[in-house]
Amino acid sequence: MKDDVSATLGIYLCTGCGIHVAINADALQESICKAFPAATCRTHPALCSEQGTHTIWEDVRQNRLDKIVIGACSPRIHTDRFPADPTTIVERVNLREQVAWCQPPGTEDTRALAEDLMKMGITRVLASQAPLPYIPDNVSDTILIVGGGISGITAALEAARAGRQVLLVEKEAILGGRMNHLHQQIPFLQPYCSPVQPIIGDKVRELLAEERVTILTSAEIDHLSGQPGDFTVTIRQHGSLHTFRAGAIVMATGWKPYDPANLEHLGYGRLRSVITQPDLENCAREDHWDQLFPKNPVHGVLFIQCAGSRDPRHLPYCSNYCCATTLKQTTYLRKKYPGLPIYVIYKDLRTPGHLEQFYQHIQQDELLFMTKGDVTDITENGDVITVKADKTLFGESIVVDVDLVVLATGMVPSNTSELNLTYRQGKGLPDLKYGFPDSHFICFPYETRRTGIYAAGACRAPMDSASCMEDAGGAVLKAIQCIEAIKRGEAVHPRSGDRSWPELYMQRCTDCKRCTEECPFGAYDETPKGTPLPHPTRCRRCGICLGACPERIINFSDFSIDNVSAMIKAVGIPDEFEEKYRILAFVCENDAYPAFDMAGQKRLQYDPSVRIIPVRCIGSVNRIWITDALSRGFDGILLIGCRPGEDYQCHFIQGSELAQQRAENFKEALQTMMLEPERIRMEFIEITDCDKIPTLIRDYLETIKRIGPNPFKGI
């Protein structure tokens, strides 16, 4: 069997970039090729050169190689030089960054490290197959857009103009959403000096003229099932149900104002002349100023910014649009009452981007007075409201008499359970923070934790209408990308282009439900019997389910229980009398592995006893691998991933948290086996933490030396 596989195996060793200085490549080639009789086994001074790649291609063609192991630089480098044919598996062994550049040249330990890494790479390839991509039948090209406000309409227009079919669902009887209530809009084009007519009317007209868009108003989603590329949405409209198909979804359900009933301390509900920004907007739109001012106002109007925002008792965040809205509304008042003083008390006046120019223009109003401050007291005395504020720019408290107080209230995202997903993990999109759906803000702003469903506009993060329009464009592009990737049988993100997917050996499933519960993306539903029902296009290929499964029935064609176990077994363990330790490190490919590469690039030196196995996510480490490693004789096991918890860095949201939990459980199990819990250590590093790596390894090695070698060594 082994010989059959080896017949299509090619092994290449690059000796460039200092590798030949660190190790004797010829000796390595000889010992490797003796252990693995491959069809081709070569060394080359620069494999990445045209001549080098040509050599590999020639071998692939002539010897029909389908498994290639390249011992050279990091797999993160020259990704476009080496064969990327879907039927060929290429394993890159990191002999440069993680051996030659971080170890002393010519030593026995360096040689052993290089040999182990080569053997691990080769055994992994031998235990892998080229993936057969999963492509659902009849992938739908339609994009479903939920919400017909400015974000939804812009998204629909953008999608239609990109040639996609669009289905737009709006809850209300008319399109336009919250922008229909505006008198004027915050400027969004040069010269940003005064408010403009709301753009929404034009946008609705444009949308109605688009042929590719189907609009359903007064409609709600009854339920939504399926997976990216193949969603089925059932819509309730005027009491009857209609079913449609969609490939991807843009969620643009918008926001609602923070409930001012909670703001009694600012006088709302308690004092007659305390209103909110939406109230003032309505008055301006309908020109009903006498409702606000029974008598002609003489004292002034005062705006309180951050009314219930950036306040842990109310909304802890900044809603981004209220400051500019106040500036806009001062122009309404100024037009109507030229001599009326207008006061603004803010925490910070935030006018992002070009709105700075708007701020500067509005400030030119002689009777507009603004200061930082905390409003501490609001009282009414006849027609006059007296507002007291502390911590002002004056360095003293101030007291202002006014006729009207306007509260700038923040945005609350709409409830995403309106999507009515039939996912096992719930009807809506999981929150990141404060009720806003998000999966990894820094890297993937539009991605929610439901693959194929992209959030846009104020339901994703607080923003003004101009930002909503921009956001809608971005989300639509992601939706289109998603559909196209699914048609090719590839993962969308973050492992874009990955053709492997989790395959379950259902006969051995015990219905323990760990995979269905722990998948951060809700990729598994359940059959009526309770067994997992995978939806491969919902999957992000993180392998967290692989790490969770106690029966080890979940595997990817190129990342499986078997191939990692084979790698572990490929490492030569020095016997107990040699006093040489071996540490196995499972390293997250997203941040920790590049950090190791950077340590090499900086020529930081660290102990040669570590053997690295890159994993898709630290959450994909299965318990059996730890058992295998310990019984094989490794003295300690490092799990290195991204930071969990609040402000997590994990690219798969929960991976590092789950790994930590599992490591803790396993430490308990170790004690029952009379092994020290220190034999497993979890570490969290960021991509920029390469400087910490040598210390991290030294510290752990010292711990291991203190507790002594693994007693199972040599058994």
């Binding site: 500067q360 507009l368 720019l393 004056f394 360095g395 101030i398």
Partner: protein, 371 residues
Amino acid sequence: MEDVIQIKTDKRFIRQVKSLGGNPLKECMQCGACSVVCKLSPEENPFPRKEMLWASWGMKDKLIGDPDLWLCHQCGDCSATCPRGVQPATVLSALRHINYLEYASPRFLAVWLSKPVYLPLVVAIPALIILLILWMAGTVSVPDGPVDYSKLFPHPLLNGTFATLVILVLVAYWKGFRRFKRDIRKNQRAKIKGQKSKKNNQKRIRFFYQLKEILLHTQFRKCQTNRLRTLAHILVFSGFLLLLLVTLVAIVNVLFFEYPMNFWHPAKIAGNLGGLALVTGTMMMIWYRLFRKDAIGPSTYADWSFLIFLLLLAVSGILTEWARFGNWSAAYVIYFIHLVLVWIVIIYAPYSKFGHLLYRLAVLILLKDRR
């Protein structure tokens, strides 16, 4: 106890500040960059940020008698730094102007000097009064023979009338100055309230320290943006001081010794040097105001009129001297014009921009815990 301000905004005051050169005043966003960059601003309660806020809120009460206005030398570092182009230096200049108007006594003189429409009046008054004195002395005619100015304006009469006028003006100034002093003291107390008041037995030392500071421009020289302007001010200031001393020597000479003095008399040399310094300095300042608007901001009528009168004063003084040595026929007319300019610059001092000499000196001496 905490201070509470009852807000009362004054639109007229805001307009006044804007009209006197502080036009972009309202666009201040209170970032405080001006106070950070200012080398002269104290650590506690720094200016000009707070002045910008008070001014944009029209809080006149806070700004009349605000001592910090006089610590500013309008070097322009703040205006060069301001991210909003608000020009705090110019705003403070406008506020100082409002203070001249506020404390001037009689007030109408300050108003006349701040508006171009009153220019004919401002010139005509000294011209007519001097003519009146000459008419009373019976010397309103161009005398014959070599040029001798005492033939036109006998020295006792000149010294007597001008000294009387100076004393009258000082009395008038004193009236406003007492109010100014009271306000400064009040604001100063408010500022250092709560701090331990140090017993101050070094009044004299402080006085001399301040005098040294003024003479050597130690504060002014901290300016980064307009270094040449500091030089110009040193020239004008020292030239003026020299001329003032020479005038005193001349009066003493007239009373006790020989007059007019020989060209190589030390006092004469000093006077000529002073005149040159004054001309060079004022020309530099005029150049600055004309071509470096970006660095020092817009100039108002008060800025220009004071500067031009000062230049004309110096030029006419030099011409008067040349006319005497050269026996020019126009000598007496030039001398007359020079006398009118002396009046405009010196007698009007408390009402014009020249008042900064008096007010700033007063504040520097009055202020206690400056450091």
